[in-house]
Assembly symmetry: C2
Homo-oligomer: 194 residues x 2
């Protein structure tokens, strides 16, 4: 068993590594970030990193998750207002060149690394989708979403268009886009007019 | 200049290579398909393939495009009926394990091969998106799509949810899904109730 002192040192090292990974990616980009570079910034040995993470992708993923704001949706009771807020924030994140480049690099690594792929799904994407679904359940109970609508489809209608635009790189990621998409999604989910 | 005979032989070889590429991928899967194997099936030398295509990805892409039904949308005047038809066909293609595996393999190769990536966009995806947009322009003129709606966003609302489901591999690709998505999309695009 670890002593309290050992545990404190271990927590400090863990958190220094995450901070170093985020700083390295922000400064150098994902491709030029290395485990050695992260270790040097964090003031630990490479082996300390490999004790907790199997790959560069895994430690960068944890750093991204640590930086990520709460995945929980606002619930002001007004679905349109909440959607607009979340879509503006999501679209602003994709519009940020550094974030976008890191996510693209992570997506490429996922193709060759099933463990990383599973962890991006389990630790980053599924929690976001589940949080969205919870907000939609509340909206459905409040009569702002059609009663019979399959909420898995609803979640995909919210985020699918953004992925599509990001992958094809054809159109701007700006606030006007977020607001247009909000309006379209609200109509898609709305109950039939009485 | 080529003589008519040379041109005929050349056309025949070109088309034999595409047929061989499609057969090889269907039988062996994309990963186990090789340029050598395609050449042997087509009864040509490897160099004949490399005269027209720079890579395995490029020849397989052309074989996929040759097999692909017309990208033009039906226009019966009834947007809901046309959407249902196209979404059922699109979702059936993604549901087919061989097609889906080939597309995933192509997506992985695209990450390392900018020329292939550009050709998938230019020759496969953009024509589909442009055809969808043309159908939506007609629907907008017929008053079945909201007058002010940005049709690029509309196209993404149609196909984005399908990509999202395909990439995350979480849900079924069946006819019930196609029909639910059709209903959601029709509501998303509809003009405001009078």
């Amino acid at each position: 068993m670890k002593s309290p002192d050992q545990r404190r040192r271990s927590d400090r090292a863990h958190s220094a590594i995450l901070t170093a990974a985020a700083a390295a990616v922000a400064e150098l980009g994902y491709a030029r970030t290395t485990i050695e570079g992260i270790a040097a910034r964090a003031g630990v040995g490479k082996q300390t990193i490999y004790r907790w993470w199997p790959s560069k992708g895994a430690v960068v993923l944890d750093a991204l998750i640590a930086e990520q704001p709460d995945v929980e949706w606002p619930d002001t009771g007004d679905l349109t207002a909440d959607l607009r807020l979340v879509l503006r924030a999501t679209i602003a994140a994709f519009a940020d060149e550094d974030t976008s480049a890191t996510l693209r690099a992570l997506m490429i690594d996922m193709q060759h690394d099933p463990a990383l792929s599973e962890s991006v799904l389990t630790r980053m994407l599924r929690p976001q989708l589940a949080a969205t679904r919870r907000r939609l359940v509340a909206a459905q109970e409040a009569g702002q979403v059609a009663a019979g609508l399959d909420l898995d489809v609803a979640v995909e209608v919210i985020f699918g268009p953004i992925y599509h635009r990001w992958i094809l790189r054809t159109h701007p990621f700006d606030e006007a886009y977020a607001d247009e998409l909000t309006a379209v999604v609200v109509r898609a989910l709305a109950p039939p007019a009485p």
